[in-house]
């Protein structure tokens, strides 16, 4: 009985030793936009956090969920590497894209590959969180709702000019005639 107990303890000790001294990365991907508009910038932010007890080596973040024909790259790279991530390190990476077509888009997870210890040969593959489905608003609809419409207001002002200006002109003409008569008197 005692030997069985010791065996179980040894087994548990060995198992927990496996998870000790290894890096564990948690990654999130989020879209920072309030509105996603066709032709305007789309801000994507990735955060990677090392919650393990060792440095992570050769951390590689690659996102293939933005095809070139639907999203134009404005700034930032979708495939990046960190040489090392220290224990407790919290790093962020941002990419700016421009959606080229309106409609629904499903934002899926990006992939994170790393080596949990310096000696490990097997690469650990993980995924970020996925922001999910979102709609890309067409530029015309967005501008109809949010642009200052300066040209529209100027056109409106010019269009109201006849209905206000015409009676005003009549009154002003008669007023100036009356003033002249008054001065003559």
């Amino acid at each position: 009985m005692k030997s069985l107990f010791l065996l179980v303890v040894a087994f548990v000790a060995v198992r927990s030793d496996n998870d000790d001294n290894a890096a564990r990365l948690l990654a999130s991907k989020s879209i920072l936009n309030q509105f996603i508009v066709e032709g305007k910038e789309l801000t994507v932010e990735y955060s990677i956090y090392n919650v393990g007890s060792s440095q992570a080596y050769n951390v590689e973040l690659s996102d293939s969920s933005f095809p070139e024909e639907d999203f134009q790259r404005v700034s930032g790279s979708l495939n990046v590497k960190w040489d090392r991530l220290a224990v407790g390190a919290n790093v962020s990476h941002a990419v700016i894209l421009k959606p080229l077509r309106p409609g629904y888009a499903n934002f899926t997870a990006a992939q994170v590959k790393y080596y949990p210890t310096e000696e490990s040969q097997a690469v650990q593959v993980g995924y970020t969180t996925a922001p999910g489905e979102a709609g890309i608003v067409g530029l015309k609809d967005y501008e109809r709702r949010f642009s200052p419409h300066i040209v529209d207001w100027a056109t409106f002002a010019i269009m109201t000019l006849p209905s206000i200006g015409f009676p005003f002109l009549l009154w002003y003409r008669s007023k100036s005639k009356y003033d002249v008569k008054h001065k003559k008197n």
């Binding site: 936009n33 910038e41 930032g76 790279s77 990046v80 941002a94 990419v95 207001w153």
Partner: protein, 171 residues
């Protein structure tokens, strides 16, 4: 026997610095591309992205860069040989318009800054490999006054002038 081991040890010590990967960049030529958030409705926090392409005179290929971003050090990501990116974000209010200097360090510089910070100073005495100036023209959060408001004011003003002259005539 002892002398030969001594000579061997000395030889190894002499060769060791040459074997160590120094990984410093001498005479860096830097091209940088900077992006800052321009409209608040396109991002809930202001994001700065600095992309640099570095070419070293000594042909260093395994360069590791760290950037001093608003007081704390972040490792730069590598997106190709000699291409690095640093990005950070914060609330719109905390990143107002202005020029932000981002200092880039190699591993030696990074360790030097960490040592200085541990001893109490802010690490600004360490010379960076290069510095990139980020000009942020502010995040636009909307016009000061809506055009609808201006149009309403003008309409009210016109009505008021007409009303005043009419009451003046009638009196």
């Amino acid at each position: 026997m002892a002398t030969s081991t001594k000579i061997l040890a000395l030889a190894v010590l002499a060769v060791l610095p040459l074997l160590m990967n120094a990984s410093t960049c001498i005479g860096p030529q830097v091209t940088s591309n900077v992006y800052t958030t321009s409209e608040a409705s396109m991002s809930i926090s202001t994001v700065f992205v600095v992309e640099v392409a570095v070419k070293c005179n000594n042909g260093e290929k395994d360069l590791l860069l760290f950037a001093d971003v608003n007081g704390h050090m972040v490792p730069a990501t590598q997106s190709g040989t000699g291409k690095f990116q640093v990005s950070w974000s914060d609330e719109h209010k905390k990143l107002p318009a202005g020029t932000y200097g981002v200092r880039f360090f190699d591993e030696e510089g990074y360790n030097a800054v960490r040592k200085e910070k541990r001893s109490g100073t802010d690490g600004s005495a360490v010379t960076p490999i290069f510095t990139v100036n980020v000009k942020h023209s502010g995040t636009w959060t909307g016009p000061y006054v809506q055009t609808e408001f201006v149009a309403t004011c003008v309409a009210l003003l016109v009505w008021y002038m007409a009303y005043r002259s009419k009451s003046f005539l009638m009196s």
